[in-house]
């Protein structure tokens, strides 16, 4: 099995794009807001890897700081201050 490393990397990129898509759909469809926060975290992780792959380490670092650190914490504070599911329980 002699796969060229370039095509292999591109396949992995496609996989990561799929992960972004799946987690974005997950954010949209989940009624449980805690799960939606986790999906948002995964989306930002995958997007950060893609930025790195596109040779933009500074953007990737910012995405990591905002997506994984700040927005997770702020979302959690907001969820705690309001309610846990979209249906209002």
């Amino acid at each position: 099995m002699n796969v060229d490393i370039l095509t292999l990397m591109n396949l992995v990129d496609l996989l990561i794009c799929l992960v972004v898509l799946v987690s974005a759909i997950g954010v949209a469809v989940h009624r449980n807001l805690l799960a939606a926060v986790v999906f948002a975290g995964v989306a930002s992780l995958a997007v950060s890897y893609l930025f790195l792959r596109l040779a933009a380490p500074d953007v990737a670092m910012t995405e990591a700081a905002i997506g994984a650190g700040l927005s997770t914490v702020i979302f959690l504070i907001a969820v705690r201050k309001t309610r846990e599911t979209e249906d209002g329980s």
Binding site: I5, M9, V12, V19, S48
Partner: protein, 85 residues
Amino acid sequence: MKTLLELALVLAAAAALLSVYRLIKGPEAFSRAVALDVLTLITMPMMAGLALWVRRSIYLDVALVYAVLSFLGVMALARYADRGV
């Protein structure tokens, strides 16, 4: 040696796929959080490998920042479950 590194990349990608399965399926939010943790730990070596591939050491800083901040995110999630952030 290139073959070994390719094998490692394939294994890491397969691991990412498996943990995405758990992310989608996970019955409760905490199983999804475990999947997020594992995904982070898979992505960090992939970022470091990317740094080796393009020979730029600044890529390692991204992995370091990611390690610090994902720890923060998971801790926030755990504290949320306990008594609020």
